[in-house]
């Protein structure tokens, strides 16, 4: 029962991190580590991401 609850909470947390895009940073850090590269700061990383959003607007439907 408790393990199920823990699993569910983990699942929700994973989902929210993915959907909100927060997971992108973790993925980037992991990739940087894998490639022995000095990662940029989170601030710079998020600026890059919002720069992209700036030029690629996604329509929201009715």
């Amino acid at each position: 029962m408790r393990t199920h609850a823990i699993k569910a909470v983990r699942g929700i947390r994973w989902y929210l991190k993915q959907v909100s895009g927060e997971a992108k940073w973790d993925e980037y850090l992991q990739r940087a580590r894998g490639e022995d590269m000095e990662p940029m700061s989170r601030r710079d990383f998020e600026r890059h991401r919002s720069e992209h959003k700036e030029n690629n607007p996604q329509a929201r439907c009715c």
């Binding site: 959907v19 909100s20 895009g21 991401r49 959003k53 700036e54 439907c61 009715c62």
Partner: protein, 728 residues
């Protein structure tokens, strides 16, 4: 690298257990539909509609969408998707199927499925219910899924690009103009819904107004204080949002009531200024944080509404089919059940706008080809469920109140006494005192002629929630619902203006190259101004229309959205022909045929009908003839208003005719391609050739044990590869 792939789904046979299970679902569905078809009178529970919908969706998803995926389209999970081939972590990005479903749903679902069904409820609950469910299964969800698939096979090309390359240049140009002008109408009508919800509602203006500083704060927080912490800032934003709604109750005490009681024209001005600023400001400042809030509210309220309906089990107050459906003289919008119920309910049953999203970012993020089924078809079924919930919320309201809220002010006079008398002529009874009490119960100055669907839905939601979760909060729930609708309409207006600006810059950029430079301020500012001016003008026209903005413009909104669907479905038919799948052309073909029948009939009637309630040009000639004699026709009260009616109906009629003509151009230029492809068996297309996929992922929503094992093995092997790479 291993090339393990998930097991193919086509070969699977149904087990006896699943046969029994699906048999049970079918029986539940059949019982619900029978009850809906036969039950009449006072105590039909709304849950019959809810469960008829859910069981129909389940069966359609399990059988029809699977047939489309594996037989018609031939999804192939051993073939690499653009996300896998072109992965760059930005546009092209392999995304978990459940996460992408969330993104896609957030992009397609907005106020449309909430507004259309509410207005269509004037014809009773049954026509809307049938169209929403049957329409989504055979048309809307098919369109979304097939467009998503074909765009995915072409590296995520847009609808306009595909029409140009697969059908022809003329069709492509027609499609481009259609997409742009339809978007303008959609933005104007959505904005009109917001204006009608906020006019003379200081509480509403207070809480919606506060969303701007809240979003600015969130943007600042994400940019400077704690970059990237989206969940944290959304949680803060939602708390502030709820406080803003609660605070609205005290506008009177704060002495703000008068200052915030805005006229419709002031709101138009506010929206136009807001729309312009939002489209030129950096997205991190306003648009992105607003989007987080609006997505959260969207999903939250939809879930809450479904739960609330099941707990409250409200009885339907509206008739199954009203006389307006047959006579076409309803006060909310003119015209008979055929074709106008199909036009009024676009989003939720068939929405052409979705084709823009299904050929936008989503196809570039798909992990496995089979995922188009749960994302395209499943996403649209979910939107349809939202539409059904909205239809129910509108149908559980006392019908006298429903018609008082939704009849134009030209009919009700805007006063309880006159409104009560007008409602009596429609065949319903509601006393002036009851009308006043209903407005008071949700702390509004009045509910009479608050057209546009949002106040009706909010009133319905507040009834359901009050019954489900306990009393005393009716006013809070009402404003909560208004906030939620206004929030995502404003998000759609922001994002739509921005998308329109890019489209315009791109188009003009073909002739004058510098104009396409999105960082060149004179271009971006002027393009934004043009887009805002266009929808702002239509919004102004709607707000000041003596006949009633929603009454006149909503049919135009529905027609244009469905015409866009006709363009998308024409593309789907063309591509099936070109891929040599003529025997499956009927799948998008029946949707296209039906869509053309309803849109062309509706356009014909709106343009040429000699019924003065329906035909724009008939209205023009009748009002012009009267004006020439210096006479007035109700509801116009002055000669200026007469002139206004004449101008508006001319614009409306020309627009309707233009949209229909553009669509017919696309269809007409596609037919020779169909014939040639059918004769030759197939034609070359721009599909990207097959390359093998190396990714392993479950094919469907629920992973089988086998698939989970395969994914685990694949992930282990990837990890080993990574460590090996590092030690090298």
């Amino acid at each position: 690298m291993s090339t393990v792939t998930s097991p193919d789904q086509t070969g699977r046979k149904m087990t006896p257990k699943s046969m029994v299970g699906w048999g049970a679902v079918a029986i539940v569905g059949a019982v619900c539909w029978t009850v809906l078809a036969l039950a009449r009178g006072e105590n039909v529970s709304a849950l019959w509609i809810l469960f008829a919908a859910l069981s129909s969706y389940a069966i359609a998803y399990r059988f029809y969408s699977r047939f489309i995926a594996y037989r018609v389209l031939g999804v192939d999970n051993t073939r690499a998707t653009p996300a896998e081939r072109l992965e760059n972590g930005v546009d092209f990005d392999v995304t978990d199927r459940r996460v992408l479903f969330g993104h896609h749903f957030a992009a397609i679902a907005g106020a449309g499925p909430l507004v259309g069904p509410v207005l269509a409820a004037q014809m009773g609950y049954l026509p809307g219910t049938i169209w929403i469910i049957v329409g989504v299964i055979f048309a809307g969800a098919v369109q979304d899924m097939v467009v998503l698939f074909f765009s995915m096979r072409r590296d995520g090309k847009s609808l306009g690009q595909m029409v140009r390359e697969e059908i022809g240049t003329v069709g492509g140009i027609a499609a481009l103009i259609a997409v742009f002008s339809i978007m303008i109408i959609i933005l104007a009508v959505l904005a009109l819904v917001v204006v009608n919800a906020l006019a003379a509602s200081p509480w509403g203006v207070f809480s919606i107004g506060l969303t701007i500083p809240i979003a600015l704060f969130m943007g600042y927080y994400l940019r400077y204080l704690r970059p990237g912490r989206v969940m944290e800032v959304t949680a803060i934003g939602v708390v502030l949002l709820v406080l803003a709604i609660l605070g609205g109750n005290y506008v009177q005490q704060m002495g703000l009531a008068n200052a915030l009681t805005l006229s419709p024209n002031k709101l138009v001005l506010a929206l136009v200024v807001y729309g312009f600023l939002a489209s030129i400001l950096p997205v991190w400042m306003l648009l992105a944080p607003r989007d987080y809030l609006s997505t959260f509210m969207k999903v939250g309220v939809i879930v809450l509404l479904a739960v609330g309906l099941v707990i409250a089990r409200p009885a339907l107050q509206s008739q199954a089919v009203t006389s307006f459906a047959l006579n076409g003289n309803g006060p909310v919008f003119a015209g008979k059940l055929f074709p106008f119920v199909f036009i009024t309910i676009a989003c939720g049953a068939l929405s052409g706008f979705h084709a823009l999203i299904a050929s936008g970012t989503t196809p570039k993020m798909i992990n496995k080809e089979s995922h188009v089924r749960m994302i395209g078809y499943g996403g649209m079924l979910t939107e349809s469920f939202v539409a059904i919930s909205a239809l129910i919320a509108a149908s559980v309201i006392n019908q006298g109140i429903y018609f008082a809220i939704n009849s134009p002010v030209g009919s009700t006079g805007g006063q309880p006494g006159a409104a009560s008398e007008f409602i009596r002529t429609l065949g319903f009874t509601i006393s002036p005192a009851d009308l006043a009490a209903a407005a008071k119960s949700v702390h509004e100055i009045t509910l009479i002629s608050r057209t546009g669907g949002a106040p009706t839905l909010a009133f319905g939601i507040s009834l359901v929630f009050t019954k489900a979760f306990g009393g005393g909060l009716a006013a809070f729930w009402y404003h909560f619902a208004i906030m939620f609708e206004a929030l995502f309409i404003l998000t759609a207006v922001d994002a739509g203006t921005r998308v329109g600006r890019f489209m315009l810059q791109d188009t003009i950029g073909n002739v004058w190259h510098r104009y396409a430079d999105i960082s060149w301020k004179p271009a971006s500012w002027s393009a934004s101004a043009v887009v805002v001016a266009l929808w702002g003008y239509m919004l102004y026209v709607g707000v000041n229309d003596p006949i009633g903005g929603i009454y006149q413009l909503f049919p135009l909104f529905g027609i244009s959205n469905q015409l866009l669907a006709a363009i998308a479905l024409t593309l789907c038919v063309t591509l099936l022909f070109k891929h040599g799948k003529a025997r499956y052309v009927w799948v998008p073909g029946i949707a296209l045929a039906w869509d053309l029948i309803i849109t062309m009939t509706a356009t014909w009637q709106k343009v040429f009908s000699d019924d003065v309630k329906i035909g724009f040009f008939q209205q023009r000639s009748v009002f012009q003839a009267a004006l020439d004699k210096g006479a007035l026709i109700k509801p116009a009260k002055t000669l200026d208003q007469m002139q206004q009616v004449i101008t508006n109906v001319t614009v409306d009629g020309l627009l309707a005719a233009l949209f229909a003509l553009l669509t017919l151009t696309v269809v007409a230029s596609a037919i020779p391609v169909w014939i040639k492809a059918a004769r030759d068996g197939a034609l070359p297309t721009t599909e990207v050739p097959r390359q093998p996929s190396h990714l392993v992922a479950p094919a469907e929503l629920f992973a089988t044990a086998q698939e989970k094992q395969a994914v685990r093995e694949y992930e282990d092997s990837q990890r080993k590869l990574a460590t090996a790479g590092r030690s090298r």
